[in-house]
Amino acid sequence: MSKATIVLEVLRYRPEQEQEPTFQIYESEYREDWVVLDAINHIKDHIDGTLSYRWSCRMGVCGSCGMMINGEPKLSCATFLRDYYPDPIRVEPLANFPIERDLVIVMDDFMEKLTSVKPWILREHEKPISEGEYRQTPAELARYKQFSMCINCMLCYSACPVYALDPQFTGPAAIALAHRYNLDSRDQGRSWREQVLSTEEGIWACTYVGTCTVVCPVDVDPAGAIQQAKLSTTTDWFRDVLMPWKGR
């Protein structure tokens, strides 16, 4: 019996030989327990070694293998072929990013935005190591834990029409991570981050379409984080105006 196969229409872009991307049809082996990344790896290993794409962990942790699968931003390692079989699957690089080659996008913009919000613990004064670690209660952890699950896969940027239309927008993941550190009891960088977040290109650019949250593979809810950041920035502003003697 011949092996079952599935058709993958893969967007290819080879800048040294073509002006625009074109679709290439591949017929990959099909197995019920295969994900789209398995089929792409099969193509790379057995059909066309020139196909370029990013991947690493194969288990939804590293966030490298995000692709548009039938127009939806998804992790290709978590998208089963059987959910599409026997129909063909269209695979494209993540939307809203420039294409570098085939399924590889240019992610510099995201990396810059991510670092711009300083997603790490900021302290006004570090306490000496001799005083021990910064301890946290389970309740303090619960405040930010959901937002700390982000794997930087950029699916949310691909789903965001605001980012598509206004590439200056800081974007869902970066803001969600900024919010994560603002909520962290060990962090003291909130007023610093607000200078980046509370701008027209920051939280106020978001119109709450909400698709970033829908596509997030790890349930971070970036849209919720952005609206919560709007709320806390606004209350901070009112507090500064009404009670200027109360420092933060």
């Binding site: 939307a95 294409i99 389970p138 609206q227």
Partner: protein, 127 residues
């Protein structure tokens, strides 16, 4: 190396159901704005006296205006209900590790909304 930038199609908002519902939601604001303008004109006509006010009421009773008001009401309801649905993602109430469930936060908005609406209906029907 040369990179390829994909243009955003003009009809991007038709590409996903969620985008379309979002645009629809944004458009409801137009109907609400027009309704408020009509309402402000109503107050202005009231200030001009009974004659002007009743002429304006006559205009509001024309079929076109009635259809507009029905559409504006549907738009306002759609906007309100979807907004209440989104609120639990924005307003996070915690007691220690416990987070107040979404339905309770959303429900807490429906109660005053219905109460105020009922009060308005009561005032209008009594008069």
């Amino acid at each position: 190396m040369r990179r390829f930038e994909r243009p955003v199609p003009t009809l991007w908002w038709l590409k996903r159901r969620a985008y379309f519902l979002f645009i629809l939601r944004e458009l409801t604001a137009v109907f609400i704005a027009v309704y408020l303008i009509l309402f402000l004109i109503l107050l202005y006509q009231l200030s001009l006296g009974r004659q002007a006010y009743e002429t304006y009421l006559g205009f509001l009773a024309t079929p076109g205006m009635i259809v507009f008001h029905v559409v504006a009401l549907v738009a306002a309801l759609y906007h309100t209900v979807t907004w209440f649905g989104l609120l639990p993602n924005i307003i996070v109430v915690r007691f220690g590790e416990y987070r107040v469930p979404s339905k309770l936060i959303a429900g807490a908005n429906y109660v005053p909304w219905i109460a105020v609406s009922a009060l308005i209906v009561l005032i209008l029907t009594r008069g």
